[in-house]
């Protein structure tokens, strides 16, 4: 599975039934609320073996599956 598919599948586990395209806005559509984000961050850290600090938890980085992927790529490079 590529990274983007993996991210979408994590999102689907957290909020079943939400079909999410890579660019769909997760904040406006309320897929992500404050407690879902906590779970998502934990799942992403586990899956991709990166450390996501509060500085990374911004609206910009979590706006869409594409944005999450871009953040993971960046964190891996660091």
């Amino acid at each position: 599975m590529d990274d983007l598919t993996e991210i979408k599948s994590i999102l689907d586990t957290l909020k079943p039934g939400t079909v999410i395209s890579g660019g769909a806005d997760l904040i406006k559509s309320r897929v992500l609320d404050s407690f879902t984000i906590v779970r998502l961050v934990a799942a992403l850290e586990d899956e991709f073996d990166v450390e996501i600090t509060p500085v990374d938890i911004t609206e910009e980085n979590f706006r869409s599956a594409d944005a999450i992927k871009a953040m993971i790529d960046r964190l891996r490079d660091e």
């Binding site: 957290l14 904040i27 984000i37 779970r39 600090t53 509060p54 911004t58 609206e59 979590f62």
Partner: protein, 510 residues
């Protein structure tokens, strides 16, 4: 004073141009707030719905909700703030109880209100705010109002699932705001960073203490609790100096070690209530904030306006310890009464009973449940006085401070012992890597179930092993369940009922 609106009007005279409420998008000065609320009040009064009458206010989390609330009072009604995120079924339950003849709605909720109140005339929040004001009509209504009139009905989930509508009066709110202002030195320089939804009792503190003192409430957009660094940025940018949040919200900050990444500059007072504040996360806040910051644990039910006892943190507690709920608020009497109906001796457990100006009138359209909880004072059979039974088990420690033990309903009876879930939660919650815990009881299997959130290293085996070293055998949970995050209620508290349903077969009774 005898009417909530007098607080608004007095502050409007002193500070017409000062911001009363803002939400990141819209600001209401005291003058604009008064003007808009009178507009809504005029529209409601013209319906001729009688007096007093229920007014549901349906709008997204915003400063405009306050216009709807105060507008309902101007129009001779009492309000119920509907949580815009609650399922339609729950709103229907609330409407069944209120049987409203109208509602004040923002544009986006008009279709919902039309479905719920077919054929009824609805008030548009946006239009009525800018609408005509009939001062004569409004002052006619005011002249008939007394301080025992209902100001709002706030719905809490009853144990049967059917929400109970607690009725709070103008007198209750005036007494409460007065206590808050004195106890925490709130004045016109106070800027609240509001977390509590306006449909939740804790918001009464922010809203009405501000109206009394001419202070400012910055309503924090809900999504900022997802983005902690931005949350701190919002507090700084808006000059927030006082916060009154549920512990779960304070724990978001502590659990991600936010102070290592961001600072807050101006916050001087940190108040919390609504659920037990875990000491580990409180210690993190106290270690991270400047010396002299005030921390206070407030305690009480919706039925006593918001709070009946409080404790200003004056010493350090062990991570696994628990905070006292302290002592009575001004003009509030607390008694601890044993199951036998006598006053508990010092150190003895009993149910907390509350008497005083903050005790509400009862439950709306529900004489049965009102009679169960608002009872004659069992300690004084001669002088007719109503006291509120909280359903909370408490005792005094040897410093004369009240300690909260548990809800009487949640107490676990296991292997012949009476066990307090809170004690287990405090102990396990203090373990390294454990972020949040909730202890429930499966009465069918007779098993204590510990559900928790934690770091990767805090796996079920190691948490169980460390717990076994701290807890007596009979208190050691039979099941440890690690979850990515504990479910929360709309107000942000840990959702005990849902956790019991999911992990203990819904059998959360001792």
């Amino acid at each position: 004073m005898k009417n909530i609106l007098q607080m608004l009007e007095a502050s409007e005279k002193r500070f017409p141009d000062k911001t009363a409420f803002s939400d990141g998008e819209t600001e209401f000065s005291y003058a604009r707030l008064t003007r808009s609320a009178k507009g809504v009040g005029t529209a409601l009064a013209r319906l001729g719905a009688g007096f007093p009458f229920p007014v549901p206010v349906i709008a997204p989390r915003s400063a405009a909700q306050v216009v709807g609330m105060l507008g309902a009072l101007y129009g001779g009604g009492f309000y119920t703030v509907i949580d815009p995120d609650s399922p339609e079924e729950r709103v229907r339950d609330i409407f069944d109880t209120l049987q409203p003849v109208t509602a004040v709605c923002s544009r986006e909720f008009l279709p919902l209100a039309r479905r719920l109140l077919p054929g009824k005339e609805l008030i548009s929040l946006e239009e009525a705010s800018d609408g005509e004001i009939d001062e004569g009509l409004l002052s006619g209504i005011r002249s008939r109002m007394i301080d025992a009139d209902p100001a709002y009905v706030l719905f809490t989930s009853g144990s049967t699932g059917k929400p109970k509508g607690a009725v709070l009066t103008h007198r209750n709110v005036l007494a409460y705001a007065d206590w808050v202002a004195n106890a925490f030195a709130i004045d016109e320089n106070t800027v609240f960073g509001n977390q509590a939804p306006l449909s939740f009792s804790m918001s009464v503190l922010d809203v009405y203490t501000s109206l009394l003192c001419g202070a400012t409430v910055r309503i924090i957009p809900k999504k900022l609790f997802s983005f902690p660094v931005e949350l701190f940025g919002y507090l700084n940018d808006n000059g927030v100096n006082t916060i009154y949040w549920v512990p779960s919200a304070l724990c978001i900050v502590a659990n991600c070690s936010l102070f290592e990444y961001a600072r807050i500059d101006g916050v001087k007072k940190v108040l919390f209530a609504g659920e037990v504040m875990p000491v580990k996360q409180l210690n993190y806040w106290m270690d991270s904030m400047p010396k002299g910051t005030l921390f206070a644990n407030l305690f009480g039910p919706t039925e006593t306006t918001d709070i009946c006892s409080y404790y200003i943190v004056d010493r350090r507690f062990d991570d696994a310890g628990s905070l006292p709920i302290g002592r009575n608020c001004d003009n509030t009497a607390l008694s601890v009464i044993t199951a036998q109906g006598r006053e508990a001796a010092p150190g003895e457990e009993g149910e907390l009973y509350v008497r005083g100006a903050i005790v509400g009138a009862g439950y709306y359209r529900d004489p049965e449940r009102t009679a169960e909880s608002f009872v004659p004072d069992p300690l004084d059979p001669y002088c007719p006085q109503t006291v509120y039974r909280t359903g909370d088990l408490v005792k005094y420690n040897d410093r004369g401070e009240l300690l909260f033990i548990s809800r009487i309903d949640n107490q676990i009876k296991h292997m012949g012992y009476r066990i307090e879930p809170g004690e287990i939660e405090a102990s396990v919650g203090a373990l390294p890597g454990v972020r949040a815990v909730c202890c429930v009881y499966d009465s069918v299997k007779d098993e204590i179930v510990l559900v928790y959130e934690g770091a990767r290293r805090a796996d079920e085996k190691s948490v169980e092993k460390l717990s076994a070293a701290r807890l007596p055998g009979y208190m050691l949970p039979q099941r440890f369940i690690k979850v990515p995050s504990l479910p929360r209620t709309g107000s942000g508290k840990t959702d005990r009922t849902r956790i019991a349903a999911e992990y203990a077969g819904g059998n959360n009774n001792g």
